[in-house]
């Protein structure tokens, strides 16, 4: 790294006193990369296109990104600090992940840049093999660390997005809705795992308290399958709601779920069930003493 200026003894040269330090080599390297910026950048962008990476982006976009990645790359080599590069990698990931760029592509382009630069170093120093060796000794660890930083930054950003989305799904999937004074509806959708079931129950109980609900309709039309754990949890939810003074009506049990529940022998005798959501709401209204009728009796369909 740049901070380490320890001289590296080179047995082949026989002149260790004249061996430049790593920092000096990196400086020379950076000067070389700056000088050939345009050409190397183009070569890199060409290689990216040829390797069919970043297919989600246009050629202009690739070139623009390539330019800023290149500059950041050289800067990281020069300063030996990776904070700026990390920030840039995060920022880049934020921009390209929504466009469907895959991990292998990001790692691929960074490794390609590493190869392109190494190739240019070979071309420049091929006459002085000893110097090439020392340049590569300085270049390779730094380049590897850069590749590592960018890849980790990308993966971390991805994971952060996944976590965020999981959170969002969890929040979205458990709405407790008030449809009338003292009547709540809880539509359950998707796969119910023990963690979600628990969260659902907690939300429902809190909502019963907040809205002073007397009747709750739990609609499970959107639940594809149910095992004994979830069924028992449902029974517990019904019981707990009753302890808070609310009656629970379960609606929308599919034929498959009905068969499963009876076959595995879950005791649902304590549970009021109605065929569909409409029936459930009607039953709930009856329990609450509502009567729904059209405003104008004459328009009632016969």
């Amino acid at each position: 790294m740049a901070t380490r200026s320890k001289e590296r003894p080179s047995p082949e040269s026989g002149l260790p006193a004249h061996t430049p330090g790593t920092a000096e080599l990196l400086r020379e390297l950076v000067a070389h990369l700056r000088q050939n910026r345009t050409q190397l950048r183009e070569e890199w962008a060409r290689r990216i296109t040829r390797a069919q990476l970043l297919t989600a982006m246009t050629e202009e976009e690739i070139f623009a990104e390539a330019t800023s990645v290149y500059d950041n790359y050289v800067e990281a080599l020069e300063t030996g600090t990776f904070e700026a590069l990390q920030a840039y990698a995060r920022n880049l990931s934020e921009r390209i992940i929504p466009r469907g760029v895959e991990t292998h592509e990001v790692v691929g382009i960074v490794l390609l840049l590493r190869d392109v630069l190494a190739r240019s170093l070979f071309a420049k120093y091929h006459e002085d093999f000893d110097k090439l060796n020392r340049i590569l000794d300085a270049y390779e660890p730094a380049a590897n660390r850069i590749a590592n930083t960018v890849a980790v930054g990308f993966v971390q950003e991805r994971e952060r997005i996944i976590r965020q989305q999981q959170e969002a799904i969890r929040e979205l999937s458990t709405p407790v809705l008030q449809v009338r004074e003292r009547l709540l509806i809880l539509p359950m959708i998707g796969v119910i795992d023990p963690q979600r079931a628990r969260q659902l129950t907690e939300q429902l109980l809190q909502a019963i308290r907040q809205n002073r609900a007397k009747v709750v309709v739990i609609d499970i039309t959107g639940v594809a399958a149910m095992d004994s754990n979830v069924a028992n949890h449902l029974v517990q939810t019904v019981e707990a709601s009753r302890l808070l003074g609310a009656t629970v009506i379960v609606t929308g049990l599919s034929p498959e779920i009905a068969q499963t529940l009876v076959t595995i022998g879950v005791d649902l005798s304590e549970m009021a069930t109605v065929g569909d959501l409409q029936g459930g709401i009607e039953e709930a209204e009856r329990l609450l003493g509502y009567k729904v009728h059209p405003l104008d009796e004459t328009t009632t369909p016969a």
Binding site: E202, R212, Q236, R242, L244
Partner: protein
Amino acid sequence: MEVPILKQGHYLIASIQSALTDADLSQLREALIERVGRYRARGVIVDVTALDVMDSFAVRTLRDIAHMARLRGSETVIVGIQPEVAFAMVQLGLTLKGVATALDLEEGLTFLDQQTKARLEERRPPTGRLPRG
């Protein structure tokens, strides 16, 4: 700590203010059952809003109060069970079967009003009107 028992119209209201020992609970049970007869109460409300833990003895005592009060001619309703307590109870299998529950004191009073009204109507001699339901 003794639980105060208030008389409100035809109802007795026992409002538990803090965690109770088993002895306190037994004492509450005896006091309530005795007073149901003394005041000819038609309903009993036990308010447990202040309790954040309910063990099996407490639940059994509440159930006993409800069943005993019914034998003495009075409906019982337990009000104010906290959501967390309710969930913990069902997980432990303590479900207060056969005992009426309500959200809070107000709901409990409404419930008892409906219950006693229904019972009074049952006793009323038949009139020209069609029977309910």
